[in-house]
Symmetry: C2
Subunit: 178 residues, 2 copies
DNA sequence: AGGATCATGTAACCGGTTACATGATTAC
DNA sequence: GTAATCATGTAACCGGTTACATGATCCT
C-alpha cells in the first residue's frame, strides 16, 4: 500500500504528528495522494507496530499534546526498497464516472451531455488553477532540495487534467455536429 | 456506486449473464471500468434485491446453465436518473503510485528514476496500442448506434495515456539535465 | 495431455470513507 | 458569538481484490 510510503517519505523530511502529516499532504501531495485523518492515524498505528516508525508524546501548554512520529532505520530501508522496486505493472484500475456517463450517454439528450461536459470543464479548470497555486510555493518547504521532484509529480496531474479538458471540448464539438 | 450503473447500462442493450457481462466489460468498458467476476456477481445480487434487475435460469445442454439478468422498469428509471444527475463534483480521489515515487525520487539515483520512467513509458505505449485495437471494432456490437459514445469514452483514456507518456519523457529530460 | 473457455458462486481480507466523540484556543 | 484550527482517536460501513471451490467442454 502506497500511503504508508508517502507517510514514510514525508517523515523522512522531518518527524511530525498525524495532524501535521495531513496538513502537509493537503498542501503538497494533494495532486497524487490524499487521505483523511482517520486513515492516517490508522496507518501510523500499523507502521508503528511494524517498527517502521516510532512515536513520542510531546506536551504542549496551550494546544493539545501531540504524538510525534519519527521514521526508523528499518523504515528508511523499506522506503528505499519500495522506491527502487520495479513493479510488474504501473497500471491502476480505472474507475471513471464521467467516461461511464459518456459511454451510456446516447440514452439521454445531447444537450444534457453537453451541459455536463461543460460543468466538467469548469471544474477541471479550477483544478488547473489550484495546481499552479501549489507549484508556486511548496508550503512550508520552499527551497527544499527535493522541490524539483515535487514539481515533476505535480506536473503529471497538470498535464493529465489539461488533456481531460481537451477531451471534453472534443466531445462537445462531436455532440454538436450530430 | 457507478459499477451498478455500468451493469445496468449494458443490460439495457440486452439481457445477459454475469459471465457475459464481464466479457463485455473486458472488451468494451476496460478503458474506464473493470471488475472481477466475483464483484459482478455480488453487485447483481444487490441489484436484484433492489428490483432493478430480474433473473431467470436458462438451461443449456452442453455448457453449464446460466442465469440471465434483465433490467426492470425501475432499473431503467434509476439509470436515467443517474445519467441526468449533476454531481457536486467530478473529482475522483487520486492515488498515483508513479507520481509518489517521483515525488520522493530525490532519495535515489537519477538513473534509477529514469529507468523506471522508461518502463512506465513502455507500458503506457502498450496501453495506447490496446486502446486503438478496442476502438477499431467494438466487440459484439459493431454498428451499434451507441458506438459514437463508446468511442468518446475510450478517447478519454487515450488522450490521458498520451499525456502521461509526454510527462514521463519530460521528466527524463529534466533528470538528465541535472 | 493441458490450458482456455464457459458458468456460478462464497469467504476472507483490505484500503478507504463517513460518522461519531471530545475539547481547548484563536481569529474574525 | 461562531467558525476555523489544533489534536487524537474509534466504529461502522462499503467497494473492491484474492483465493477458494467445482466441473464440463473446447481448442491446440
Amino acid at each position: 500500500m502506497s500511503l504508508s510510503y508517502v507517510i514514510l517519505g514525508i517523515l523522512s523530511y522531518e518527524p511530525m504528528s498525524g495532524y501535521a502529516l495531513r496538513s502537509f499532504m493537503e498542501k503538497n501531495t494533494k495532486s497524487f495522494w490524499t487521505a483523511p485523518l482517520s486513515q492516517i492515524y490508522k496507518e501510523l498505528g500499523t507502521l508503528e507496530r511494524k517498527e517502521w516508525v516510532t512515536s513520542r508524546m510531546e506536551h504542549q501548554e496551550v494546544r493539545p499534546d501531540k504524538k510525534i512520529y519519527e521514521i526508523t532505520d528499518i523504515g528508511r530501508d523499506e522506503l528505499l526498497n519500495w522506491l527502487t522496486d520495479h513493479p510488474k505493472s504501473f497500471e491502476v484500475p480505472v474507475r471513471d464516472e464521467m467516461s461511464a456517463k459518456v459511454f451510456l450517454g446516447a440514452k439521454v439528450n445531447s444537450d444534457e451531455m453537453i451541459f455536463q461536459l461543460k460543468l466538467f470543464i469548469r471544474e477541471k479548470q479550477k483544478t488547473l488553477q489550484e495546481l499552479s497555486d501549489i507549484s508556486e510555493s511548496f508550503h512550508g518547504f520552499v527551497g527544499h532540495k527535493d522541490n524539483l521532484h515535487w514539481g515533476m509529480a505535480l506536473r503529471k496531474r497538470l498535464l493529465v487534467t489539461a488533456s481531460e479538458i481537451d477531451w471534453a471540448k472534443e466531445c462537445i464539438t462531436e455532440l454538436q455536429d450530430l
